[in-house]
Symmetry: C2
Subunit: 222 residues, 2 copies
Amino acid sequence: MRNLRKLRVMTPPDADGVPPRRRGRPPSGGREAIVAATLCLLRERGASRLTTREVAARAGTAEGTVFYHFGDRTGLLMAVINDGLRAFADVHFGQPDPGSDIGTLLDRFTSALEGFLDIAVVAMIAAQSDAELRDGMAQYFLARNVGPHRGVELLGGALRRAQSAGLVRTDIDAEALAMMVIGSCFLRVALQQMIGSDYSAKFPDRAELVRTVTTMLAPVGR
Amino acid sequence: MRNLRKLRVMTPPDADGVPPRRRGRPPSGGREAIVAATLCLLRERGASRLTTREVAARAGTAEGTVFYHFGDRTGLLMAVINDGLRAFADVHFGQPDPGSDIGTLLDRFTSALEGFLDIAVVAMIAAQSDAELRDGMAQYFLARNVGPHRGVELLGGALRRAQSAGLVRTDIDAEALAMMVIGSCFLRVALQQMIGSDYSAKFPDRAELVRTVTTMLAPVGR
C-alpha cells in the first residue's frame, strides 16, 4: 500500500497514554501483513479473543513489531478502519456538474461505502466486546472528529453541489438524505455480518435504493 | 407485563438443542426482573461477561429460575429483544387513510422504532462478542423469520397503503424507502451505543429526517 507514513500519523500510538516501545532499531516491516491478519482474526472470532501474540503469529512476525507499529490493540483496530477508509477515499465519485448523472454518483458512492463498511463495521462491532477497546475507539472517533458523520458530510456536500447545479430538487435537506443513504448501507452490512448474507438478502438491494433516491431527487415543479 | 404466555412461545427454550430443566415445581416468578437485569448488565459491560449466575444475582432470584424461563444465554438475549419488540408493536402508527398525515405516521414510527432499537441493538451487538451467542441469534432470526426486515415490511406496507390512498407519490419503491428510514434510525442508535450520545448528536436529528422524507413523498405532477 502507498503512503504508509501518512497513515501512521492517523493511528493512535498512545491511545492508552502509554507510549509504544520504540527503543533500538525498528523491527523489520510487516505492517500490512499485521493489519490483514488482524482483520482476518476479527472476522473469524471477534475482538474479545484478539491478542497481539496471535496477530503476530498469523502475520508471521514478532509481537514487538505489532507494538512498534500500532502501540496496542486499539491502535490495531483503528489501523484496520483507516486502511479501509483510505481505499474508500481514493474512489472518485464524480463531480455533480450539469453534465453528470446523480444516479451514477450514488451508485459509485454506495458501492465504495459498502466495501469500506464491510471492513469498518467488523472492527467497530468487535471493539464493543471489550471495555478497553470500546473506550479507545470512542476517544479516537471523538478526538479526531472521524466516523460515519464524515460520510454524511461528504455525500451531503455532493448533494448540495448537485442542488446548486440544478441537478436535484432544492427543497430537501441534503444531510438528512445523505444519512438515510448511509444508514441503509450500514444496516445491510451490519446485518450481513451479524446474521449472514442469507439474511441481508431479505432487504431491497443497493440498485433499488439508488433508483429510489434518484427518483425522489428529480427536480419537481418546473 | 401482559401476555407472558405468548412471549414464552417466542423465546428459544432449546436453542442449543438441550431442553431446559423443567423437573419438579417451576421456580417462583421473577421473569421480568431477569429480563431487566440482563439488559442492565448488557448495557454495563456487553455480553462477553454475561453469566446466568450474575443475572440471577442482579435479579434477586435463583440461577435455576433463569434456566427455567430462558434455557440459556441466547434465550435471555432473545427475550430482551422480544420484550422491546412487544412495546414497539403496541404502538398504533395510524392508518394511512385520506384523512391522515404521512408526517405523523413517520414521526410515530421512527420514535417507537428508536426506542425499540435502543434495546435490541444492545442485545444484537452484545451477541457478537461470543461465538455461541452469535450463532444462536443468527439461527433464531433465520428460523423464525424475525429481524429488521420485518420493520421494512411493516413500514413498506404502510407506505404502499398511503400510495393507494393517493397520500404519497406512487413512482417510488416503498420498501426501499422504508429501508432508508429504518437504516438511518439504526445508524443513529448503533453509534449512540458504540461511541456515545455526544457523537450521535453530529447527525441530522429525527425531526429533520421525518421532514425530508415527508417532502420527498409528496405527490408530484398532479
